[in-house]
């Protein structure tokens, strides 16, 4: 049966509520993971209302699944890449972005010393591994091409879709020439002397720009503002911890990300964790104009809830 979404009608304990959230794998989700582990959202809710908030966290492996779950009303919110979130909002799934979550480093790495720029790849049969066609990495590739005066889809047929770890394996074993990846894989690959970066991608969209966002259903915002604000604040608190005390934050997430605490700390420092979006609307417009999106995003306000600032 359906989980009762943010259900406050219960007569016995009027302030008790339930929240269904989903996130994905990796340190891009660190603020959400910290909020989950430290139960920030529950605590804030309790302080504000005196009620108990129960959160059901799910870990899904793609934004598409989170979109589906929200569309069917089974999730109240979640965290996903900017691209699927933009798709979801413009598709009318009934949610908007309630916060920026993180920006991360991306980069196009190659093992082929004869290649020095993405222009060298065009027209070749060199393969580029990235997570999926239509993924944020694909869009970043297209954007880098576009920004450098090429057709945004010039390298589409060079793409092979596979998960980051498989792409890393493929790149290092020479099975593909290039790998467009994000943190933390990009950090590891950058330490490999046999590989070098084609910088167009990281130049055109940096770690400062919106990568992962939090989304919340309109229904939640409308019917349960207390839960919504606890959610916003709890996530903010997660980001604050990373920004103020990265060592403690790393201590919380290190094990989950499978890293040593020192390494985790270093990685976290390379990410940008802020609630403010950056170049989100530009990304959406680019997606629409280059066929990654069916519907016109129209305006920034159309994508985010009023409490979100940025562009």
């Amino acid at each position: 049966g359906k989980a009762s979404s943010a259900d406050t009608q219960s007569s016995s304990a009027p302030m008790d509520a339930t929240l269904n959230l989903a996130y994905q794998y990796g340190l891009s989700y660190a603020p959400a993971v910290i909020a989950q582990q430290q139960q920030y959202i529950e605590q804030i809710y309790h302080e504000k209302t005196g009620g108990t908030l129960t959160i059901n966290w799910s870990q899904m492996s793609s934004g598409a699944d989170i979109n589906t779950a929200i569309a069917s009303g089974e999730l109240d919110g979640g965290f996903m890449g900017a691209a699927p979130a933009i798709t979801g909002v413009t598709k009318g799934l009934g949610y908007k972005i309630f916060t920026n979550l993180s920006g991360q480093e991306h980069g196009l790495m190659t093992n082929d010393s004869s290649i020095t720029s993405i222009g060298d790849l065009i027209g070749s049969d060199k393969q580029i591994a990235l997570v999926n066609t239509g993924s944020i990495q694909h869009i970043l590739l297209a954007k880098a091409l576009y920004d450098n005066g090429y057709d945004a889809h010039a390298l589409d047929s060079n793409i092979v879709a596979m998960k980051h770890p498989d792409g890393k394996t493929a790149l290092e074993s020479g099975a593909v020439s290039c790998h467009l990846t994000s943190s933390p894989y990009i950090f590891v690959e950058k330490t490999n002397p046999d590989l070098h970066e084609l910088t167009e991608v990281s130049d055109s969209y940096t770690a400062a720009n919106t990568f992962i966002v939090g989304i919340a259903s309109e229904e939640l915002v409308n019917t349960n503002p207390e839960v919504y604000s606890a959610l916003c604040e709890g996530i903010q608190q997660g980001m604050d911890l990373i920004n103020s005390d990265v060592r403690t934050a790393a201590g919380i997430t290190a094990e989950l990300d499978g890293n040593d605490p020192e390494v985790e700390e270093e990685y976290l420092q390379k990410g940008v964790y802020t609630a403010e979006t950056s170049r989100l609307f530009e990304l959406a417009t680019f997606m629409y104009e280059n066929g990654f999106l069916d519907n016109d995003p129209l305006s920034y306000e159309n994508l985010v809830f009023p409490n979100v600032s940025g562009n």
Partner: protein, 263 residues
């Protein structure tokens, strides 16, 4: 009798579709459920647009053709492999027991967990997908063949031995026809396995230069184009039904049924 069955099948399908349409039209599962249960009309439109518009300027046809090539390749290799291994297993009790262990172990391993090894050995090309299809087909198919061979009535094997059949000639002359109903059952399972293996392989591993149906579905999922996704499933179903009733059923009719080995 046969006509009755066909009518029953058609009625059954119509009922299923009617239920779908009812749920869709009445928003029975929430206000936004038309995204998840698009009306049949929308699905039919998506069906057409899959073939006319397609994705990234490529018609679904191309995806289907690409996939069918890989599917067939994997299926054929998987089936042949299963036959060769099961055949070897009839030669000696020890081989059979090793092979049984092999199936029991490898059939459990998720393809995605083998991906690193596969990529290193095969590189990044469509062979990886073929390999994953083989991995989906080989073990259950071998299981069916092996168990079918084990269940061959002793008297047929003895009658075969008696007229000098040994090894390969015994396998082809006795084990194979005598276990035909297992083999067909295995073939049906293998065929379905191959499809599902293919699609999940193409989902975790998509080659843009040779885009397949799994990539297409993934794409439609990513873009929340559920109508198009269901329309793609319908294509899979149509191919499946053609194979079932155009290939497998006639084989069945001309073997097990004709030979009185099945009711």
């Amino acid at each position: 009798m046969k006509k009755k069955d066909i009518i029953a099948k058609i009625l059954f399908v119509i009922t299923l579709l009617a239920i779908w349409e009812f749920v869709s039209k009445n928003h029975l599962l929430g206000p936004r459920s038309e995204l998840i249960f698009p009306s049949l009309e929308k699905i039919m439109q998506a069906f057409v647009s899959n073939f006319t518009k397609g994705y990234a300027g490529i018609s679904l046809w191309t995806y289907v053709i690409n996939s069918l090539k890989l599917l067939l390749k994997g299926l054929v290799i998987g089936i042949l492999g299963a036959f060769i291994l099961s055949g070897l297993a009839t030669l000696s009790h020890t081989l059979a027991s090793i092979f049984n262990l092999l199936i029991s172990v490898f059939d459990l391993l998720p393809g995605v967990a083998l991906l690193p090894v596969i990529i290193i050995v095969l590189g990044v090309n469509s062979d990886v997908i073929v390999f994953l299809v083989i991995h989906s087909v080989l073990w259950p198919m071998s299981r069916s063949i092996l168990d079918g061979f084990m269940a061959v009535p002793k008297i047929y094997v003895e009658a075969g031995n008696n007229i000098g059949l040994k090894n390969l000639s015994l396998i082809l002359g006795v084990y194979f026809p005598a276990s035909i109903s297992y083999l067909l059952s295995g073939l049906k399972v293998g065929w379905a396995r191959a499809w599902r293996g293919l699609i999940s392989a193409e989902m975790i591993f998509g080659i843009a230069s040779c885009p397949g149906i799994g990539l297409y579905i993934n794409q439609m999922r990513t873009n929340m184009n559920n109508a198009e996704m269901y329309a793609t499933l319908i294509v899979i179903i149509i191919i499946g039904v053609i194979v079932q009733y155009g290939v497998l059923a006639p084989i069945e009719k001309n073997t097990v049924k004709k030979w009185g080995m099945s009711s």
